[in-house]
């Protein structure tokens, strides 16, 4: 079976605009919520993907971001807490022709839905998983989430959260994901590019979107998203290119043994030749990049950490069916009813 071409690639030339993907429902997110931008970037990206509208299915669990399907004019399923990934698996396996999208918050996906998250990635169904990471429980009004930093003061942790947080990209790598990327609600252009890359990946695409909750965790990512600080604290990953960042493009990352360190490109000692070159096909490098967030001195990487080819789950299933049909043909149902041995009563 052909492994490089998705079933959901362009089949008909349908021309859409972003507006065609907006439903008639009032959007009920808090004014100023980062979710608005993510919704807008998805709607703006979809026309360029050329997927017929009736083939699009948006599936979500529970949480603020999980209302997403109601605001799309496509097929949609607002399910139960943590289970969007499992429900999406059933949808995709039952009909591989559909383009299946999952929108989930960090609580929904990493906490109650943590199990299904891992298994979706290892199975590698051809679906797109957008995680809106605001490092807080929004819908339940402000408890710490599995991505909240340790010691965070929240409604349920008045003297600080005792939990050490998950690193979502490391978790996705550990679960053998084949596409792992990060973007930000406040960088529309980059976010659109990442959504497009995720959609085109053949297999499960995991896109973590850093999203501001302006009510319960305002400014959690301002260091990375605001004009004054962004350039000195974010490194944009580009395949085949060295890791350079900073207002004046004067900072780089090089490896000291296994340890990533920041170097000054103007110090007369270092040049771009010393730097780490991004390779989207290296799982080992992806682990190193993924660890950056655990080191405050390192910039936050955004972009595609990893994209590798692997057969999808539904392709393997299709191959198994083909194999069975080739070998035995389609089954005669009366043979099934009779079983292996029968006897006659006259």
């Amino acid at each position: 079976m052909e492994t490089t071409k998705s079933n959901t690639d362009i089949t008909d030339k349908v021309i859409y605009t972003a507006k065609d993907f907006a439903s008639d429902q009032d959007i009920r997110w808090c004014p100023g919520c980062g979710d608005y931008s993510i919704l807008a970037q998805v709607q703006r990206t979809l026309p360029s993907l050329g997927i017929s509208k009736e083939k699009l299915v948006f599936i979500a669990g529970i949480g603020c971001s999980s209302r997403f399907p109601y605001y799309m004019s496509t097929y949609g399923f607002h399910t139960i807490h943590g289970r969007a990934t499992a429900i999406a698996s059933g949808v995709k396996i039952a009909n591989p022709d559909l383009s299946v999208w999952i929108t989930a918050g960090d609580g929904d996906l990493m906490s109650i839905g943590g199990n299904h998250f891992m298994h979706l990635l290892r199975r590698n169904l051809d679906v797109n998983l957008l995680m809106f990471n605001n490092r807080i429980y929004g819908l339940t009004k402000g408890q710490y989430s599995p991505t909240s930093e340790k010691n965070k003061i929240t409604k349920s942790s008045p003297i600080g959260s005792p939990d050490y947080p998950f690193n979502p990209t490391s978790l996705a790598l550990g679960a053998n994901g084949t596409f792992i990327a990060r973007s930000m609600d406040r960088d529309p252009k980059h976010l659109q590019e990442m959504i497009s890359r995720a959609a085109k990946h053949h297999g499960t695409s995991f896109l973590e979107v850093l999203q501001n909750c302006n009510i319960y965790n305002d400014g959690a990512f301002f260091l990375y998203t605001e004009k004054e600080t962004k350039e000195d604290n974010v490194v944009y990953l580009e395949n085949g290119k060295p890791l350079i960042y900073g207002k004046n493009k004067d900072k780089g990352i090089k490896l000291d043994g296994f340890k990533p360190v920041v170097v000054d490109l103007n110090d007369g000692v270092h040049s771009a030749n010393d730097l780490l070159i991004h390779d989207e096909t290296s799982r080992e490098l992806a682990f190193i990049l993924s660890s950056f967030v655990e080191h405050p001195e390192l910039p936050m990487p955004v972009g595609v950490f990893l994209e590798i080819p692997r057969n999808t789950y539904e392709e393997t299933i299709a191959e198994q069916f083909e194999h069975v049909y080739d070998k035995n043909g389609k089954g005669d149902i009366d043979e099934l009813l009779k079983g292996k041995s029968t006897w006659e009563i006259k």
């Binding site: 139960i80 289970r83 499992a86 559909l98 089954g331 079983g339 029968t342």
Partner: protein, 620 residues
């Protein structure tokens, strides 16, 4: 055949005694192959043409330490020349492969019954493990029984000694020696098991040779040893004309699902997580790809059901199979299927509970969970199979109702039905009622929560142009399906969902009464108690007592005439393998008092237990 053997055969044949029914129990260590022995005897007996009922009874441990009481595995079957309904109350013949097997099973042996004991295993260590201070084969313990001491182990090893097998492997063939002996004792043909051995061990010819030798040796021992005073003959049963097969409950259920999927034209998607005693359905269906069945072994019970819900949303037939603890985990998702009004079949093969309970033992204690066990007003259709073969019909029916009413349907079976077997008159696919599916394709006038005459909403699958819509677990506005929190709308939707499930009563058969249509006593059953109740009533009627039987296959909603049936009798007796769950439902639904007969011992009712209660009521 040499003259010598021929002469002996004739002699043996001369003292063949014809009997109507026999109950045999094979018992040994869980590694002794008792389940294989029992099922081989069953297959042979079925093809020979007897009616039969089986009761496998095995520990939850895969290979419990040898010789222990808790490691004993048993297989009981009753076979007969007439129509029978149970695996038999008490065994006529017990094959005890070791002292523990004797100790555990002696209480279920008829007084004066036959014990065939593997005398080689009755040595010091095994006797101690079984808690025997002295050897029961030699003291007074077995007084009143016919005891045959057979060197099953030694004879098996002896006959295999020239084969290149280790003692351990050779020792494992001893169950076929015991089986051969039973084939002789009950005059059964050997060819079915000989064929099975050839197929099963095709890759290891020495095991084909070894097991064939052991089987023949056991048979020949019976014939030549002059140990047994008589052989027994059970003539084929006079069942209605037709082609028959032997079928186990889980197999019947699997086939029923496949036939229903085929009839509806839907792709079947099974989302399942391994759990005893439901796993065999997953195994059966995973082998049936040639019928287009997709099986998804999920990461947990929740993913099993939610993936099936997703498949149903996408236009496939979503099915999930489990047992009690799995049902508990699926509860929230069942609510989602109720709220989104998608077809879904949920199969619960009940086992002893609560919690992990008794994984390999049977019970009927998940009825209230099935009918009521969810948050909110959450109506679900609940149906139950009555016999192993009935699992076929009820699986087919579950699919039909789920599609017609766009609703989840819970199908209850239990460990006894799942692993028990009976002869089944083979159905022809063309004779099955057609299941119709109407996918909505017309965009004009479409709304996701429109309703047909049954109150079912349209099934509009993704991929259909112009029908893009959103569903979800949050309350929906009537007709439009938009998110809606208004109090009037919520109450309307709660009532619509309840009425829809209630409407199923117009689409199911009336509750039938077996026996007199009114009178002093009705025995009302549901699920796997069918066989025991039927056998009990047959005996009671033969004694001249007046008692009738009605058996519920539909538990929610109940058949429309249920109350009328119950009110036609002075008293209603409900035997259940729980503490009175159907009794509770009947009492609350109809304000009718009932007499309860409850058993929660992990094993089905014996007919005599029900008979005792019937006699007590009739006397009073």
């Amino acid at each position: 055949m040499s003259e010598d053997i021929l002469e002996k055969t004739n002699r043996a044949n001369k003292i063949k005694k014809e009997v109507d029914s026999v109950t045999v129990r094979f018992a040994g260590d869980s590694g002794d192959g008792m389940q294989i022995t029992g099922s081989q005897f069953t297959d042979t007996t079925a093809i020979f043409g007897n009616d039969l009922g089986t009761l496998p009874d095995f520990p939850a441990e895969i290979r419990a330490p040898a010789g222990t009481l808790y490691g004993v595995s048993g297989f009981q079957l009753q076979f007969s020349n007439k129509d029978i309904f149970t695996p038999g109350d008490e065994a006529d013949v017990l094959i005890a492969m070791n002292p523990a097997a004797l100790k555990v099973n002696l209480k279920d042996l008829k007084k004066g019954g036959i014990i065939i004991a593997n005398v080689d295993s009755f040595e010091k260590k095994n006797l101690e493990l079984a808690g025997y201070a002295s050897n029961p084969l030699e003291d007074q313990t077995l007084e009143g029984y016919y005891v045959y001491k057979v060197n099953i182990t030694k004879s098996t090893l002896e006959i295999l000694k020239d084969l290149p097998l280790g003692t351990k492997t050779a020792n494992k063939c001893k169950n076929f020696y015991a089986l051969g002996l039973m084939y002789w004792l009950f005059d059964r043909p050997m060819d079915i098991t000989l064929g099975w051995i050839k197929e099963k061990f095709a890759k290891t010819p020495e095991l084909v040779e070894a097991n064939t030798r052991a089987l023949n040796a056991g048979y020949n021992f019976g014939e030549t040893a002059e140990m047994f005073g008589e052989r027994y003959e059970v003539k084929p049963a006079k069942l209605p004309e037709g082609t028959y097969r032997n079928i186990m409950g889980n197999e019947a259920l699997s086939i029923g699902l496949i036939c229903a999927a085929q009839s509806s034209g839907l792709k079947m998607f099974l989302g399942s997580y391994p759990i005893t005693p439901a796993s065999d359905i997953l195994h059966n269906l995973s082998r049936q790809k040639k019928y287009g069945v997709i099986t998804f072994q999920a990461e947990d019970e929740i993913a099993a059901i939610t993936s099936a819900i997703g498949a149903s949303f996408a236009g496939a037939l979503g099915v999930t199979t489990t047992s009690g603890p799995g049902m508990a985990l699926k509860t929230e998702a069942i609510g989602l299927a109720v709220m989104t009004e998608l077809p879904l079949v949920i199969v619960n093969i009940q086992r002893g509970g609560p919690s992990t309970g008794l994984p390999t033992k049977t019970e009927q204690a998940d009825l209230l969970q099935a009918v009521y066990g969810r948050n909110g007003e959450c109506p679900v259709a609940v149906i139950a199979a009555a016999t192993p073969a009935d699992c076929f019909d009820m699986a087919y029916e579950a699919v039909r109702l789920a599609i017609k009413f766009m609703t989840p349907v819970i199908l209850l079976s239990d460990g006894y039905l799942a692993n028990g077997s009976e002869p089944w008159k083979v159905r022809h696919y063309n004779e099955l009622p057609k299941i119709n599916v109407k996918f909505r394709t017309e965009p004009e006038g479409f709304a996701p929560y429109l309703r047909d005459e049954n109150l079912a909403r349209p099934w509009a699958k993704p991929g259909t142009p112009g029908l893009e819509h959103r569903i979800g677990g949050i309350e929906k506005q009537n007709i439009t399906g938009n998110v809606n929190y208004e109090p009037e709308n919520h109450e309307l939707m709660v009532k619509l969902r309840a009425q829809k499930v209630k409407n199923i009563e117009n689409d199911i058969p009336d509750l039938e009464i077996e026996g007199e249509k009114s009178g002093k006593l009705l025995v009302l059953g549901w699920g796997s108690t069918y066989g025991s109740i039927t056998a009990a009533i047959e005996n009671q009627v033969a004694k001249g007592n007046k008692v009738s039987h009605a058996h519920l296959r539909y538990l929610n909603p109940l058949p429309k005439n249920t109350e009328n049936v119950l009110r036609s009798f002075e008293k209603v007796l409900i035997p259940e393998m729980n503490l009175g769950q159907l009794s509770k439902i009947i009492k609350t639904e109809f304000l009718i008092d009932v007499v309860q007969l409850n058993k929660v011992k992990g094993s089905p009712f014996k007919a005599k237990e029900i008979e005792a209660k019937i006699e007590e009521i009739l006397k009073g």
